[in-house]
């Protein structure tokens, strides 16, 4: 049992692709502590996406061990992983991935539905999360009635609503203009300041600059792992 939220030991992930063996991750060792703000970077094909899927318990490693919040998840099977995703991880995706026919509120309630939370509690916590991301007035709008930035805020509210151990964002600003990107990055900054562990996966250096630590992948290995010289939050926003 370690104090780290995330501990990876010798994680590899191999795919079979048309008779060819592809090594997406070739032995990753990584520890992330509570309340860290980490960006995982790398060019396409570096293993970034596989890394994100592994951290998010969407994919199981071929070998190596992964402890999330003290529990070894690398040996878990489908339904256990679903429970871990539900309780421990809040996802924010590049394409938002909201349910198009459901209101913002219903989208945010979704993880709580699978957690078996009561209707009333669900409603209360979803409203709270939406208010937290500044969408208190838009709870009953559907995704197509919201701007890109607002959609991503709904997705963040959905990621937060189960009070996860880690907030895992995959290119969260990839589909947003730069002004909106800044807004969204500010939300992440605030959440981290409130104690949330945040992991960003991105290929954009200026987005990665918001994090306190940058891990760069290349060919399935960690190339560099450095702390960011901290520009103040205020400077980043300005």
């Amino acid at each position: 049992m370690s104090a780290s939220v995330i501990r990876l030991e010798g994680i590899t992930r191999e795919y079979q692709m048309g008779g060819e063996r592809i090594r997406a991750l070739a032995g990753i060792d990584l520890e992330i502590d509570r309340n860290e703000y980490v960006a995982i970077m790398g060019p396409s094909g570096s293993g970034k996406s596989t890394m994100m899927n592994t951290l998010g318990c969407l994919d199981t490693p071929t070998s190596g061990r992964y402890w999330l919040n003290g529990h070894e998840v690398s040996r878990m099977v489908d339904d256990d992983l679903a429970r871990v995703r539900n309780r421990e991880i809040g996802f924010v995706f590049q394409t938002f991935n909201l349910l198009p026919r459901a209101s913002a509120l219903a989208n945010v309630e979704l993880p709580l539905v699978y957690a078996g939370t009561s209707t009333r509690e669900r409603r209360r916590r979803a409203e709270e999360a939406l208010t937290r991301v500044g969408l208190g007035a838009r709870m009953h709008h559907r995704p197509n009635e919201l701007s890109g930035g607002q959609r991503q805020r709904v997705a963040i509210a959905r990621a937060l609503v189960n009070r996860p151990s880690i907030l895992l964002a995959d290119e969260p600003t990839g589909n947003l203009d730069s002004a909106t990107s800044v807004e969204i990055m500010r939300v992440f900054g605030e959440l981290q300041a409130e104690g949330q562990t945040v992991i960003l996966v991105t290929h954009e250096p200026d987005i990665a600059e918001h994090a306190h630590r940058v891990v760069v992948l290349r060919d399935g290995r960690i190339e560099t792992d450095r702390a960011v010289a901290r520009p103040t939050l205020a400077a980043a926003v300005a």
Partner: protein, 413 residues
């Protein structure tokens, strides 16, 4: 995920795609419509046959001593016809013999039947059922007299040329005028109208009010049967056990009178409502046997349609399924979502089917002589089948959905 969540989700996605949902429901709807309509009609026929057909034609607690059956609701072989025709006719003497010896208290009446033409002042009614009877006939048939009176035993004794008319016949001949006391021609023989029987209604759309009743001794008897011969000796008791007892007595008496040896078949026939219904019961049994087949075919087709719709829905919503799984939906949650959606779809179809079936049954009852009575159990069966078909049809697509890899699923747009 609780069941009501899954149902709510299913209803929402049915609402979202009304037209597609409707088409996918048609198969189940037709199956259930069929079920409800056929069961209602058969059930209605049952009630009708038992109450009206048997009641009106045979009579309550009544049996008829006859040469051969009068009412046949099934096919009769030629051989059977020939055997019936070889039998001795029932005679006045048989009737007298039975009347003196049957110990069970009963009303009894001889009867002869024929189709004759009836005329009055240039008006004519052809093919009218004329019965020649004893005076107790009216009580046995439970005829209320609307006007005038029935004939009395004394009139039977003397062979009075009097006639009691059915309601519709009286209306047709007299057209609102008072028929009582008028002389009409029954098969060419003059008879005085003394009464009109209250309206009896219809049976399968055929009026039960086009008849005339005359004493069995009236001059008409010569047109109806050879001397001494009668068509039917009717016996009515107070209840069914007494009727059975009387039937046993009559069987024994007739066998003795005709000198039948043990083992020899009866050469007479005792007709009861039950016997008259035997043919109908065979028909309704066949209908009820064929029904599951018919319903099953449409439900299988309906199930296949729903399965396809669900498969389409799964592939359309691949990315939604991916998101749900990423957010913590277990396989069983996804499974439940699609099975319940499929079952809900199917139940909605079944409900439409029940509605359509009831309308169809009502339409049949309203526009054809066939009656209809809704069987509550058939509605339950309809809903149950809807759930079953939907669940079975949903299993395969739901399994497919539940096994999707969330990463790959989310990548799909």
């Amino acid at each position: 995920m609780p069941l009501y969540e899954a149902v709510r989700l299913a209803l929402a996605s049915i609402r979202a795609q009304k037209l597609k949902s409707f088409f996918s429901l048609v198969g189940v709807m037709i199956g259930v419509t069929f079920l409800i309509a056929v069961v209602s009609i058969v059930q209605g026929m049952n009630v009708y046959m038992t109450d009206k057909f048997a009641g009106a034609l045979v009579g309550v607690n009544t049996f008829h001593v006859r040469q051969r059956p009068n009412i046949m609701t099934g096919d009769v072989e030629g051989e059977q016809w020939r055997e019936w025709s070889r039998r001795p006719r029932i005679t006045n003497e048989d009737a007298e013999f039975l009347r003196e010896r049957v110990t069970v208290p009963a009303r009894m009446s001889r009867q002869g039947f024929d189709q004759l033409t009836i005329r009055w002042q240039g008006r004519e009614a052809a093919q009218i059922q004329v019965s020649t009877t004893d005076a107790d006939y009216f009580a046995i048939k439970n005829y209320d007299i609307a006007e005038g009176r029935a004939f009395a035993p004394q009139e039977v004794q003397v062979g009075a040329n009097v006639v009691v008319l059915g309601f519709e016949l009286a209306k047709k001949l007299f057209d609102g005028r008072d028929p009582l006391g008028e002389m009409i021609s029954v098969g060419g023989l003059p008879h005085r109208v003394i009464g009109v029987v209250a309206e009896q209604g219809t049976l399968f759309g055929i009026s039960l009010d086009k008849f005339a009743v005359v004493p069995i001794t009236s001059p008409v008897r010569r047109l109806v049967n050879r001397p001494r011969v009668i068509d039917d000796f009717t016996i009515q008791t107070d209840d069914i056990p007494q009727m059975r007892e009387a039937m046993d007595e009559v069987t024994a008496l007739m066998r003795a009178r005709r000198g039948l040896k043990p083992g020899e078949e009866n050469n007479f026939y005792l007709e009861t409502a039950e016997g008259a219904l035997a043919g109908w019961e065979k028909i309704s049994a066949i209908l009820f046997l064929a029904l599951p087949g018919l319903v099953a075919i449409s439900l299988v087709v309906g199930g296949i349609v729903i399965m396809n719709i669900m498969l389409m829905s799964v592939s359309e919503r691949t990315s939604e399924i991916g998101v749900r799984k990423a957010l913590g939906a277990k396989r069983s949650d996804i499974m439940a979502q699609f099975v319940v959606e499929s079952a809900t779809l199917s139940v909605v179809g079944a409900l439409f089917g029940i509605g359509a079936g009831l309308l169809l049954a009502m339409a049949v009852a309203a526009f054809t002589p066939l009656p209809a009575a809704v069987a509550p159990w058939s509605i339950g069966v309809g809903v149950g089948l809807g759930i079953l078909v939907g669940m079975v049809a949903g299993i395969m697509p739901a399994r497919q959905a539940s096994r999707l890899d969330p990463v790959a699923a989310m990548r799909q747009e």
